[in-house]
Symmetry: C2
Subunit: 147 residues, 2 copies
DNA sequence: TATTGTTATACTCTATAACTATA
DNA sequence: TATAGTTATAGAGTATAACAATA
């Protein structure tokens, strides 16, 4: 064990490591992490947050609707809002002139990076566990049959 | 180990037992169990479901609003709906004539019992774990610092 | 004809404010 | 004056249907 790892005792927060891994597994099994708090912190509606999240690359609006589990008609307004805030741009698709690709602006990339960091942060109760418990938790969750 | 317990292998569902215990702890830590699915199954709005849940005894409407984290003005409509379906009754409080106590009817008690059973049922992925893993999971979650 | 995105519209859920009847 | 519950109303969030442009 490295000295850096040894220094992290019970409850000392850390990026990466077993807590992150356990949290990732848990989030897949139970519910996504507390989006609402993050959304408020970044002054974004939950749906706008989900949209930024899926925009690792430019995507058509229909794809965004699918990811958000909502009707495409809603995506129009969501993208309108993000466009007004300068976080995304509507771009024409080179393949199909019906399609509009939603792409992040430079500012959008900055906000998305911050958001991804917040969302992936394990919650306090998980950080409060010993590293051994975090590791065991992650292993057990890894054995669960995800439907 | 009893023969009944021994017979439950990996993935055989069971009421009570370590899965229930782990699920109870997890639900406290992460998010309440998937209310929405249960609500649809019982043809009840999520708020009505939460109301039934808190009615282990007759309670004033303000108390219900507090439990639901919503304004009291909404409780009027929620209770209206439950009353129309014959699940609750508005009763006068013997102590304060401003207060109305919401009490379950006989039918309301039946629906609530079914609901509580559904909500407390551990999800499939948790039942899919070995009993040893379920137990360990519960123990680890029990060590977490709930804020 | 079918599909992408837009618009108009309606329904649910929740919040605020004014009101009533009690305290 | 303050409080419990009601009513009216407005704002989010999401769904359906009709439409324009394109396939």
């Amino acid at each position: 064990m490295s000295s850096a790892k040894a220094r992290r005792g019970r409850g000392t927060a850390t990026t990466g490591g077993p807590a992150r891994e356990a949290w990732g597994r848990l989030a897949q099994l139970v519910y996504p992490p507390p989006f609402l708090a993050v959304a408020r912190k970044l002054d974004l509606r939950p749906a706008s947050l989900g949209t930024l999240r899926v925009l690792d690359e430019p995507r058509p609006m229909g794809e965004i609707a699918h990811f958000l589990h909502c009707d495409s008609s809603n995506v129009t307004g969501i993208v309108d809002g993000l466009e007004e805030r300068g976080l995304v741009r509507r771009e024409p698709s080179p393949k199909d002139r019906r399609v509009k690709l939603i792409a992040l602006t430079a500012e959008g990339r900055r906000v998305r990076a911050r958001l991804m960091k917040e969302v992936e942060m394990p919650p306090a109760w998980l950080e409060s566990l010993s590293e051994a418990d975090q590791r065991t938790l992650g292993e057990i969750l890894g054995r669960a049959n995800v439907k």
